[in-house]
Symmetry: C2
């Protein structure tokens, strides 16, 4: 069972027009034919099962047979994480966190950040591919690269946590997982003292993720899985 992604339809749509990239894949790579059945998600919880009416390589069209609507996940997980120097490591994090379960991701720019420019569109594609591969119908929201202080001062809803490696009082994340979580993960050189101080002054709870020191992208996956696992117990 293969899933395709096209954001521009809702439960009132009778015909779905598929974007160029996905159309090329359907028509040229997979060589699907008129009359073939196909599954499409809009990334917002809606799954459409339909029949291909046109397999034009830039503009496939699908007649909807039925819809299946998924309920929004009960718990909201937002991870704000400093993109790693090596792009593939950060893309692993995007892919794996989508497989395991995440609702929102903010790439953050910190004092010790090794990567200061990101490939937003490429990251979007990684999230879309991971969503489809997991047969998931919710696309994690990917925010723009945001500076640490701008992020800290923004309107943040979930229970707030910061994972840092400095000495100081910390709780194990597994002990303090809330209904809705926002977890900050720093760059390879950790958050700076002033960044940690600022976060604590804005009611971020300091946490530890593991006994051993984890790479940034590993910390991201560990945080993501810890939240999902604790909620499933």
């Amino acid at each position: 069972m293969q899933l395709f992604y096209e954001p521009n339809f809702d439960s009132s749509s009778q015909l779905i027009t598929i974007n160029a990239e996905e159309s090329r894949h359907i028509s040229k790579v997979l060589r699907k034919n008129i009359g073939d059945k196909i599954l499409i998600t809009n990334g917002s919880g809606l799954l459409a099962e339909g029949i291909i009416k046109s397999n034009h390589p830039k503009k496939c069209e699908v007649e909807v047979l039925k819809f299946e609507e998924s309920v929004l996940p009960k718990n909201n997980l937002h991870i704000a994480i400093a993109p790693t120097k090596a792009n593939d490591r950060f893309e692993w994090f995007l892919e794996k966190s989508t497989e395991i379960g995440i609702q929102e991701i903010t790439p953050i720019l910190c004092e010790h950040s090794e990567r200061r420019i990101i490939k937003q569109e490429r990251y979007e594609k990684v999230l879309q591919a991971a969503m489809k591969q997991s047969l998931n119908t919710f696309l994690p929201k990917l925010n723009k690269l945001t500076s640490f202080s701008e992020f800290i001062y923004s309107d943040l809803n979930n229970t707030k946590f910061i994972a840092h490696c400095e000495d100081g009082p910390k709780e194990k994340l597994s002990k303090v997982v809330a209904e809705n979580n926002l977890i900050m993960i720093g760059p390879e050189g950790d958050f700076s003292q002033s960044e940690i101080g600022l976060a604590l002054s804005k009611d971020f709870n300091p946490i530890s993720l593991s006994e051993s020191r984890l790479r940034t992208e590993t910390a991201g996956i560990v945080a993501c899985h810890t939240v999902n696992l604790i909620h499933s117990l």
Copy 2:
């Protein structure tokens, strides 16, 4: 703090002779000098702090100042997992599981395996690098590629689990984590019906790792982290 790996020393060693590859790194890449302090692990729990006596690019020598011996981890985790078609995905699993905590890894050859030949030495290097980066002094044991049936019939010590995607009774791993665990993870096409039947007949407990379907390497990390997290609660 940087850690180096040389297996051939024990707590009776006064002088450590470092292997060629690590010597080259110390001498040519990092350009360490005679008199510099250095930390070395033998991968079996022993950490040596010493002074460089010779920085020969093929044969560094270190005079030991002191040793630190770590206790064997209380719990033993062994994951038997089918190497993925894409090598980088499997190497990602080796690296992340070492960061999170694992004692033994057996690459297994299954009916639906997409990879039937593995780069054993390359995988060893990935484990060594991950151990050093984590400042860990225990190198996970990497066994040779073993066929599914040969593995099932071998002498296996830990509480045995098999994670499969077929229908049938399964417990969540998080509910049944034991002191010492052996978890089998199948290839992208899952274990075959007969492989599952054989495992169940040899007292492997069927488990699920997640609500959603995970890639092989993600399943490996989820299993590894689930065990580590449950033990830390």
